[in-house]
Amino acid sequence: MLSIQSVSKTFFPGTPNERVALDDITLDLAAGEFTTVIGSNGAGKSTLLNIVAGRISPDRGSVVVDGEDVTRQPDYRRARHLGRVFQDPLAGTAPDMTIEENLAIAHARGKRRGLGLGVTRAKRELFRRELATLELGLENRLKLKVGMLSGGQRQALSLLMATFSEPKILLLDEHTAALDPQRADLITRLTAEAVERHHLTTLMVTHNMDQALRVGTRLIMMHEGRVVVDIAGERKRGATVQDLLSAFEQVKGAELDDRTLLR
């Protein structure tokens, strides 16, 4: 469903600040696969996500969504196929607009936006049903401006908006990192439910190893722009945080050895 082929990206090339963010990454996600991505700061996780979303264009390589090469498409065009939830709970919704208007905007993803009313009675019923799945009582507050909601509520709404129109790919960019632990747990649970319900092919970046192990069907660890661990199925289910940490130490250790040898 999502295919990232030999993608490389270097920031500030040819300057003293040159930084290789992605080093010839190839990654294929099958339809319905829920992949979590972990790695330390600067490992290239966010760059990878932004390249898929079209916020950053790669130096080399291509991004293919469901057989369509989208590498040269601007972000808003490929957004037809992509649902996104951002780290900042305020980023995914329009604060001065009502809950139902926000949902109407999300509902129109991938369709031609014409001069029909954005919120109709039929759509309002749909929104009410969808909001009820969040179990936050928002289904009774359709006309409330989103700016009045708490961060957790807004992130739950963002998640619903990103998923209920069934995009081909769901991109989650550390979307629980800015929330308190309780809210983060809620959003993690809602994410798993939504992905399950809509069979979404998902790429989720996270800092939290425990979370990366708990959800998803496949786990990728990145380090210095490369994929260093890639486990799925049984192996992922059996893995522990300790396994991940030692795998990480091993990678770093191997690198250290290389450098020592070169000297």
Binding site: A53, P74, D75, Y76, R77, A79, R80, L82, R84, F86, A91, G92, T93, A94, P95, D96, M97, E101, A104, I105, A106, A108, R109, G110, K111, R113, G114, L115, G116, L117, G118, V119, M161
Partner: protein, 303 residues
């Protein structure tokens, strides 16, 4: 005084255009001063050439629309700062307007305009004219309310509210900005065409400082009548425009010099901007929301 109400209702069309860019699109568009005169000049020249007044008025609106598209292209495709893009179009339009009129003004005294039937039947300056101009303003208000609630309109609202978000839902924000600016300046051009016919001439300087009148109307209306939802906001803008003209009329009758009116308008807008920054007034919600209207270029919530 009834004349002031009439004027307020006609100028409400322009104020709704200003509301669309400043408040909805969050784009401080200064094209208005130029596109207003362009609408007036286009309509006046066409009417004196024998075109039907209705067609000429619509052509004035179309000319304003085109001016808005230019500003939109300068900003989105040219990457020019919104304020500067508007000023560039406005300055360019000054020459264009002189060309359209082939001089500094076009009189409309001996030709039939949309206003002529009202004047000949003695309907101006009474309840009938207020009803007619009032229905026009309300009609434009309702059309704007409807448009802003369509799928396209919601995308336009979101462009002003959270641009990154609406792009992530597949909307080309360059396009929504151009559409918003075109519509806004189309309304301003329409208003210019009507004012030219109402006052009986188009003049190169008739648009100067208009943006401040528009802003003052939006601010005044929202301070007095509120701005919680769009249908209330747009009604407030229409009433604000009337209130603004009536206030000016009262000031004139009190003996103030007409030449000082621009300064009075500017000071009014400045007060609305500055008051929310002072301690006592900071907690007044209505004032804070006003600040957002006019202070679109400063950082949000700047203490």
């Amino acid at each position: 005084m009834i004349g002031a109400v009439e004027l307020g209702l006609i100028y409400a069309v322009m104020a709704l255009g200003v509301y669309l860019t400043f408040r909805i699109l969050n784009f401080p568009d200064l094209t208005v001063d130029g596109s207003f005169t362009t609408g007036a000049a286009t309509a006046a020249v066409l009417i004196t050439a024998g075109t039907s007044p209705l067609l000429a008025t619509l052509a004035g609106a179309a000319a304003g629309l085109a001016a808005g598209v230019v500003t939109g292209l300068l900003h989105t495709k040219g990457g020019i700062n919104p304020l500067l893009a508007g000023i560039l179009t406005q300055i360019g339009l000054y020459s264009v307007n002189l060309r359209i009129m082939d001089g500094a003004n076009v009189p409309l005294l001996r030709v039939d305009t949309l206003i002529t039937p009202l004047r000949e039947n003695g309907l101006l300056g009474g309840a009938a004219s207020i009803a007619i101009f009032g229905s026009l303003a309300i009609l434009v208000k309702i059309a704007l309310d409807w448009f802003l609630h369509t799928d396209t309109g919601l995308a336009l609202q979101a462009t002003g509210d959270n641009e990154a978000m609406i792009r992530s839902f597949g909307v080309n924000t360059d396009r929504t900005k151009i559409v918003g600016l075109a519509l806004s300046n189309g309304l301003v051009g329409l208003c210019g065409a009507l004012i030219a016919q109402y006052q009986g001439f188009a003049d190169i300087s008739m648009g100067i400082g208009l943006i401040i009148a528009g802003l003052a109307s939006v601010i005044l209306g929202q301070a007095v009548f509120g701005s919680r939802v769009i249908i209330v906001s747009t009604l407030a803008v229409v009433l604000g425009s009337v209130l603004y003209r009536v206030t000016i009329q009262i000031a004139l009758q009190a003996g103030l010099d007409p030449n000082d009116m621009k300064l009075v308008s500017a000071v009014l807008v400045v007060i609305a901007l500055v008051l929310p920054r002072w301690g006592v007034f900071r907690r007044v919600g209505a004032l804070r929301s006003l600040r957002r209207t006019a202070a679109t270029t400063t950082s949000p919530g700047g203490r």
